[in-house]
Every structure is written in structure tokens, then in C-alpha cells.
Symmetry: C2
Subunit: 110 residues, 2 copies
DNA sequence: TATAAATACCTAAGCAATTTAGGTATATTT
DNA sequence: AAATATACCTAAATTGCTTAGGTATTTATA
């Protein structure tokens, strides 16, 4: 997330959106995917991501499935039913947030 | 800012943008203006705003001018030269931020 | 073939931007 | 007269992150 305060608060929503689109993902994969989608502009630090995944799991929004790939464990996360509902809510909040920032940056279009 | 984590980190940029557009503003006026522009969706708490104004002043980005209106003091804030430069920087960062959130929410348009 | 880089997970202290919950005081509306 | 709006303020607590570590295996490179 690197130096930019603006992203603070958006990580959970971003994670839920990625899992909505991709079904199952593991932590490291999430960091790669976000960098890819934003062309390297947004880098999720692991110190932020892993605690967030654990928090979403503790809230009952995510479930985990551990798979061994190349003899190394991967923790695949996927949305619970509650997670799907909450994902929709948070995505709507984020859309409203973006709209509000847009009008604040361009008040002449009011 | 009410319950929505997303706005965390955006307050300084919003304040600088308002002062860029309006020249001089006082704290209470800023809270009214943001509510007006966002149709009541974004409410700046005073506990967030006043420390932010003081911080921006301490950084040399804002100057203050106290005026008595109806026997009550108002503190009008306005951008310094450095404040104008920093405002442009932060606004560009915010535009990049919005673009990144947009592609994360709509990766199909990549 | 040794070493570095990538993959894959993790935690904990510290920091910064908020929220929450107060406070003071005057002007205006009900 | 009382409530609401105006107008400023602070400080403890909370929260979401950064920073800075840690472990271990696999793959690429010099």
C-alpha cells in the first residue's frame, strides 16, 4: 500500500471483490493479482494482507482450504454465504465512495 | 466520516481541494460544504477536521486569518504557495487512486 | 553449484488518521 | 425559555496500516 494513505480502509473490500470474481485465491496470489490489475501501482504488503484475511475469516466471511502444491502448503480462501452478502454491501459502499470523491474533485458538474 | 473506513486518509486532500476552489474557508463552513456537495453522504466530524487543519497549518500548507463575524471569531484558512503545490500533488494521487479502484472493481475492462 | 530471487506463510511493535466523547460560548429559531 | 445552529477546541481510544522482522521450500542465475 506504500506511502499512500488513501488506500487505508479499502483492503477488505478489494479482497472480497477478488474472491467474488475468482472463487478461490491464496494470499500470495492476491498480492500478485492486485499488482497486475493496477499495473504495479498498488502493492499490498503481506503485513497488511494476512491479518486482514484472518480477520475476515474470524468474522465468518471467508472459509479456508489448505492444499499442498509442490510440497508447500497454500491456504485457499473463498467466500461464505455471509461473505457474498457482505461483499455486495462493501462494493456498493465503495462505488458510493468513488462517486463522492468524484463530485468533490469535480464540483462544477453538480 | 461515519462508519465508513474508506474515507480514512482522504480528508487532507478534500480540504486542500476545497480551499483551492474557494480561496478562504473556515472549519465549520468546510463541514457544511462537504455535506452539501455529497448530498449528505459524507459528514466530516469536527474531531477529525480541526486537528487536520492544525496539522496542515503546522506543515506550512495553510495560513490563518481570524475574523470576527457577529461578535464570534471565525478562523479563515487559505493555501500558502507550498499548499498550492502540495494540493496539486495530492489531487493527482487521488485521481490515480480512483482509477485504481475503478479497475479493481471493473477488471473486465482491462 | 552455490547464491539469489521467488514463492508462501506468519507475527508484533509502532504510527497516523480517525472516532468518540467530551468541552466552551454566542446567535438564531421554535 | 429551550432547543438548535453556529463556531471553535482537545484527548483517549480505536483501527488499519507500515515496518521489520521470522520460517521454509522452489526456481532461476551467476
Amino acid at each position: 500500500m506504500q506511502k499512500n494513505n488513501l488506500y487505508k480502509g479499502s483492503l477488505s473490500t478489494i479482497v472480497l471483490k477478488l474472491l467474488t470474481d475468482n472463487g478461490k485465491m491464496y494470499g500470495y496470489q492476491i498480492t500478485r493479482e492486485v499488482e497486475k490489475i493496477t499495473a504495479g501501482q498498488l502493492v499490498i504488503t503481506e503485513g497488511a494482507l494476512y491479518p486482514t484475511l484472518h480477520k475476515l475469516e474470524a468474522k465468518g466471511l471467508l472459509n479456508v482450504e489448505i492444499k499442498k502444491v509442490n510440497n508447500r502448503p497454500r491456504k485457499y480462501y473463498f467466500l461464505t454465504e455471509n461473505g457474498k452478502k457482505e461483499s455486495l454491501n462493501l462494493l456498493n459502499e465503495m462505488r458510493a465512495f468513488i462517486r463522492n470523491l468524484d463530485v468533490l474533485l469535480n464540483p462544477e458538474f453538480l
